[in-house]
Symmetry: D3
Subunit: 170 residues, 6 copies
């Protein structure tokens, strides 16, 4: 059984990590879709799809997962009625969708697919918006992401990027 | 050192397989870009990006590669001057491009990147066009693709698809 | 003389119905353009273009209009300077535009066309936003739409859709 | 039961007319999709979507059909895997597809829909390409289209348009 | 040495004019990019790219600049990672970018280009938003733009346009 | 009176140069539109829009024209019915179109604009396709373009580009 999980992963954090650890036990193979793949260099979406592929790949490496994982960037299609067909075109066939996003759930259900919720892990602290805010303010953001993700962000000069694009003096 | 190799993989065949076996020895990690990802259900591009991800992933499994391989679908951007930036946005950072395609080589060279040619493996027989023609004509196409690819194509009813879309009675 | 009237019709309600009853007396044929045709499954635009075609068609049936009415979905072009040309390309030739939308009026006037205002019918109650809010809150929304429209919305499970996409427990 | 039939209708001719006369007997309501709606002013697609809506609407008027017919322009989506979802978004729900186009048939079949072939009516003479060629050469094209269609084409100066865009002296 | 300066110029005002007077002394040739070229007829972007080309060209005429100036409309690409490649494709090669926009500066810096800030000229008064508001309210907006720009705006009926599109009675 | 002239200018050659010399005498100001601006790095369209802006600008410099000339890149819109609106949006208002292209002429005529033909200058030799072929074959291409254009092409390594993208050994 192949499962599908989608997020924007700006950045990939420990909340995502916990969710994926749980899902991986329920499936034979897992597809991780990276949403809004064409977005980058904004406060909402500072990192490119390629950088996010790298973050997730490095972080999963730490988990030493024995099952196959596909990490696929997905450009926005901006037409809700076509979105499920777009996802299905870009990733290998899958049997079940894991999501807590109301729109994602509804769209897959209208397409006749099985949808399961995910157990959120400390949703207050593990939130992309909150972590990006800490990056800008110089707070400790590293404790919210896997170690490998912090290394990727530093290697690409990510903190300076996010500060500069919002016009904050570095 | 991370390398980048791109193809349409319609389908992924033994010619691609040999090229990748060679490249993998020269790099630490390999990114395989799937070009024209948005195309499918035509003679030129019968298989979806997701199906091609599956073919490549299954075929590489047979090789038991110890190095990390990223398989990334790339939608066409249809503007040559933006194409390199588009690839770089969608895949992890890379150091060298492997390609024999004249346009790909020129575009990456104008962007200041290192480009290496690949050793083509029996180019007459191992060609997507030729293999698709055999699929339509009922000739033996399986000997030109890795075993795992043939299994994927059969599982998705690929031969009937390619015959029907060109209007050939099944 | 052929007239053109445009709206998003999310949903088609009795306010639209009254306007169209008035316009129909002034023209020989009427074109009804369905704006933002590519949008659906959001609070602003819950229904697909096809569903809106159906609503309008069924509702007009109740009126027993003897004149020809064309119902045409219009995808957004997102470039104001091209919008009039886009509308003219997609619908039969017309002589007069009926609208109260300031931008629509200005764009058609700059293109040299005749534009007439419409008599709004109880604008406070007959508003798409307000009716969608009632759908979500479980208030009586049916009294604001033609009977045939309520039937379409129920047949497509429209109330559950609008509630789920905004994350409201059903 | 609602049926769906699609064509480019460049122009709508007596071959289409015969097919629709047959289909209309089998369905309760008919949706006619106008493909490549965004194309016009070329030899392949001389007429705008709006002009084609007009042709079909006027021609059907001659038939005095008692059943509801929806005439819907459909812009190309240029991604085969999304095309069925695009059609379904833009037109009312339907139960059966009528087509002889191999790609259309395969795409709807992969989506799990019922597809029926149509009885072609003298396919040699009733072909858009052939009729457009006659328009250019000054041959008698009017005998191949319904009378109402000929009137529309003359009202929009269609013969001069098709001659001029291919650079033929008028 | 060729410099590049970009703005939306809605409208081109004396603040822009002062900046350009300064830059022109530092470069051999100047490229002025008109951003969001595809936007018009909105409060944010009332004027078309062509109208903005005209404003800038007429205003520069007053300065009697001896150096070559290129005025190039640039449509939005809506993908930050591709934007620098898009600009470079559309304008002649340049050596230095003049900008105070944080995102523009970061994007060009990541592409390895030299970026210089500009000296803002009375930023409180010389702001597009503020000037457009004055146009709507009937305040004296002409003192904030070069004389030639005021003439262009009047020739194209610009004040009525901006008032009408926001629904303000003229 | 302002005139509009459009071409792809791949490259700008002496045939274009002669046409423009003639037009410039008939108008007060001239707009030169660069068509297919988004195309580059192909045999049909080897040079970017920016490079073509540079070629034309440098070549006109040789003519010492006293009238204002606007050089504006125009991306393809790929919808003929919208193309005139697109051109009008991107360039300053104009009174007359100069063209020998049948489609361009028809589209502007349908929009109610005045269209004039141009006197072709030795059409056999002065043709983009022919000049590009000479570039590839190592024939003398420089005699067909203004001296300034040859300098631009050499400065951007244009001959190697066109040879490499078609896969010709340099």
């Amino acid at each position: 059984m192949r499962g599908f999980f989608i997020g924007r992963f700006q950045p990939y954090h420990l909340g995502h990590h916990e969710v994926i650890k749980n899902i991986i036990n329920e499936v034979d193979e897992l597809i991780i879709g990276i949403g809004s793949a064409q977005e980058s260099h904004s406060f909402e979406n500072p990192f490119t799809a390629g950088e996010r592929v790298l973050m997730i790949s490095m972080a999963l490496n730490e988990l030493d997962i024995k099952k196959r994982v596909y990490i696929i960037p997905l450009e926005d299609i901006k037409r809700n009625s076509l979105w499920v067909a777009h996802v299905r075109e870009m990733v290998p066939p899958f049997d079940v969708v894991y999501s807590n996003n109301p729109l994602v759930k509804r769209l897959f259900k209208e397409a006749g697919m099985e949808v399961k919720g995910t157990h959120m892990y400390n949703r207050v602290e593990y939130q992309g918006t909150e972590i990006r805010r800490k990056m800008i303010n110089g707070d400790d953001w590293k404790r919210y992401v896997p170690k490998a993700v912090a290394e990727v962000i530093e290697a690409i000069d990510g903190i300076n990027r996010i500060r500069e694009i919002i016009g904050k003096d570095v």
